[in-house]
């Protein structure tokens, strides 16, 4: 059997294990190790198993994972979501659909500190949903705007999705963060316009909340200014080349803990829970990364990625068609798979094709994350919908029934990002380092 055929069998074996419910990291380790033994012999495979788990983990870049996770978890456990929603509500809640727009804006702001989509949906579900119900908002609109708004979490930095993409493709995480910033803001604008149009045509969907005076608006900033300043400090530092993403993560986590301590929101149990969750998620990523790199080593000796790239180029179809196919593939995959699993499993095969087609890898990172975001709210397995349903007791069917205008908005947004790569690449190209 030719090495590339072994590579294809290895991919098949790994997918079989994954669909049978084996941990993704284990499936990649087993398939990679067995495949390597077949192609290069036991001694070399054994060496790989001794080098990859250490060399991939002893990484300064990977160290930003626990730091950003800690920052996000501290922030989400200390009730900042409520303050963000309250502030956004005071500023824009009085227009038609204003509470839903305020929720989207608050989701964007929360994403800027938290970096996790499901955490954003869960936190906002507890805070914003009861408020919208109180003002007789349509249940579908109220729940769907939270589920959709939560997806912004992995687009606006800090984002775990971009860290993983950067690690697997050896791209600058700082540049990826910057690349996600404008698309994230644009996503908030797209959602806000969608809500406004819906409520304009059918005002009963989202009645206006009572108006607030300017003093109230200013006063509402009291609970959020410190965290927003921290975000600007962290991201501004990366943009200006003052900090590395790992340093920014450490400063962000330290700042979030300090602010929460000063505002007396961080209890001992909150802090202990934050660090425990951080350790658990870090270990989960460690197994995934180790599995991914062992599997990538196997794929490299099988030459399957190179063969696939040559095959795609040999088809002589316009590169735009290849891109559209990849986007459709990720949109479908996002409906069924966890973003991290999908990224780690597909990038070793897809990324060489993107590179050989001449697309910018930073821009593609944004497109990929955007595609996976859409999967978070689409049936049958939209993660955010299930998270929101469990945190707010809204039936899954109701939320899925309301997400379609947001999915359409997502498609329009994605199309814009594909047609105008400058939106994603403007900030990375302006970065000092």
């Amino acid at each position: 059997m030719s090495p590339d055929l072994i590579g294809a069998i290895g991919v098949g074996l790994m997918l079989l294990m994954i669909f049978m419910g084996i941990w993704v990291g284990t499936a990649m380790l087993v398939a990679g190790f067995v495949g390597f033994i077949y192609l290069e012999g036991f001694a070399k495979a054994f060496t790989i198993l001794g080098t990859e788990p250490y060399s991939q983990i002893a990484s300064y870049i990977l160290a930003c994972v626990p730091l950003y996770i800690l920052m996000g978890i501290v922030v989400s456990l200390t009730g900042i979501a409520g303050d963000l929603y309250n502030t956004a509500n005071k500023w824009i809640g009085s227009i038609k659909g204003g509470l839903a727009i305020a929720t989207t804006v608050a989701c964007g702001a929360f994403a800027a500190i938290c970096g996790s989509s499901d955490a954003s949906a869960a936190a906002m579900g507890k805070v914003a949903y009861p408020e919208m119900v109180k003002f007789r908002y349509d249940q579908k609109l109220a729940s769907a705007c939270i589920a959709a708004g939560g997806t912004i979490g992995i687009m606006i930095p800090p984002s775990l999705g971009f860290i993983l993409y950067g690690l697997l493709t050896e791209q600058s995480i700082g540049k990826l963060y910057m690349a996600g910033f404008l698309p994230g803001i644009l996503q908030v604008i797209f959602y806000s316009i969608t809500i406004y149009i819906m409520c304009r045509f059918k005002p009963t969907l989202g009645p206006a909340a009572p108006k607030t005076v300017f003093r109230e608006k200013i006063y509402s900033l009291k609970g959020v200014w410190a965290m927003l300043l921290l975000f600007l400090f962290v991201i501004g530092g990366i943009y200006a080349g003052i900090f590395t993403p790992t340093e920014a993560g450490a400063l962000g986590a330290f700042g979030a803990i300090t602010i929460s301590l000063i505002s007396r929101r961080l209890t001992r149990s909150n802090f202990s829970q934050s660090v425990k969750d951080t350790a658990q998620i870090t270990a989960m990523i460690v197994l995934l990364i180790t599995g991914a790199f062992v599997f990538m080593r196997f794929l490299a000796v099988s030459r399957l990625p190179a063969m696939l790239s040559e095959f795609v180029i040999g088809l002589q179809i316009p590169r735009f068609v290849i891109l559209i196919c990849i986007i459709i593939f990720y949109l479908i995959l996002g409906c069924f798979w966890d973003i991290f699993a999908a990224m780690i499993l597909t990038l070793p095969l897809i990324f060489p094709v993107i590179q050989i087609s001449g697309y910018d890898p930073i821009w593609f990172g944004v497109i990929m994350v955007r595609c996976m975001e859409i999967g978070l709210i689409t049936p049958p397995f939209g993660l955010n919908v299930f998270v929101l349903s469990s945190s707010s007791n809204v039936p899954v069917k109701t939320i899925f029934g309301g997400v379609w205008p947001f999915v359409l908005s997502d498609i329009a947004h994605l199309t814009l990002l594909v047609l105008f790569p400058q939106i994603s690449l403007l900030l990375p190209n302006m970065m000092k380092h």
Partner: protein
């Protein structure tokens, strides 16, 4: 009353201690990097070798929290198809999962020990602080060994529950 110490209880006790150390390591990593940035920009006195210390601390976090994450079954799995299976089938899949992960850990542990021995022969150290890499390789090995123990306990527990 005399407390009965079973191997499973001892393993779990060790994991509790190890996971606590891992939590502390995350905090140390954060403090070290923050202090480095503050000292560099405010006092022009960066901490020498902070980058490699962070790398070594990352290995420590990984090694020390892996068993704990496995104990909590915190690893990513795709359950689209398995959700359709019966509870009993899912239990069987869990056992297969634990055994497969256990086998791979059983290969990783000696492979890492091998790397440690080779590293000691070559006296591999970090570039700036000249910290030997060996102890950290051993720490990661210990993490995988603990994970292996956790998986044995989980496998036995699942089989016993299934029989009941």
């Amino acid at each position: 009353m005399s407390k009965k110490f079973t191997p499973a209880k001892v393993s779990m006790g060790i994991i509790d201690i190890v996971s606590f150390v891992s939590l502390m390591t995350i905090v140390v990593m954060m403090m070290l990097t923050t202090a480095d940035v503050i000292l560099r920009y405010l006092f022009d006195r960066p901490i020498l070798g902070s980058m490699e210390m962070t790398e070594l601390l990352m290995v420590s976090v990984a090694g020390l929290s892996l068993a704990w994450c496995t104990l909590k079954s915190g690893h990513i799995r795709v359950d689209i198809i398995t959700n359709m299976f019966s509870k009993k089938t899912n239990k069987t899949i869990d056992v297969i999962n634990y055994i497969l992960t256990g086998i791979i850990c059983a290969f990783i542990v000696p492979a890492l020990i091998n790397r440690y021995i080779e590293g000691e022969k070559l006296d591999i150290r970090t570039y700036v602080l000249r910290i030997p890499e060996g102890p950290f390789v051993l720490l990661l090995t210990f993490g995988y060994f603990l994970t292996f123990l956790v998986l044995i306990v989980k496998t036995v527990k699942s089989i016993v529950e299934e029989k009941k």
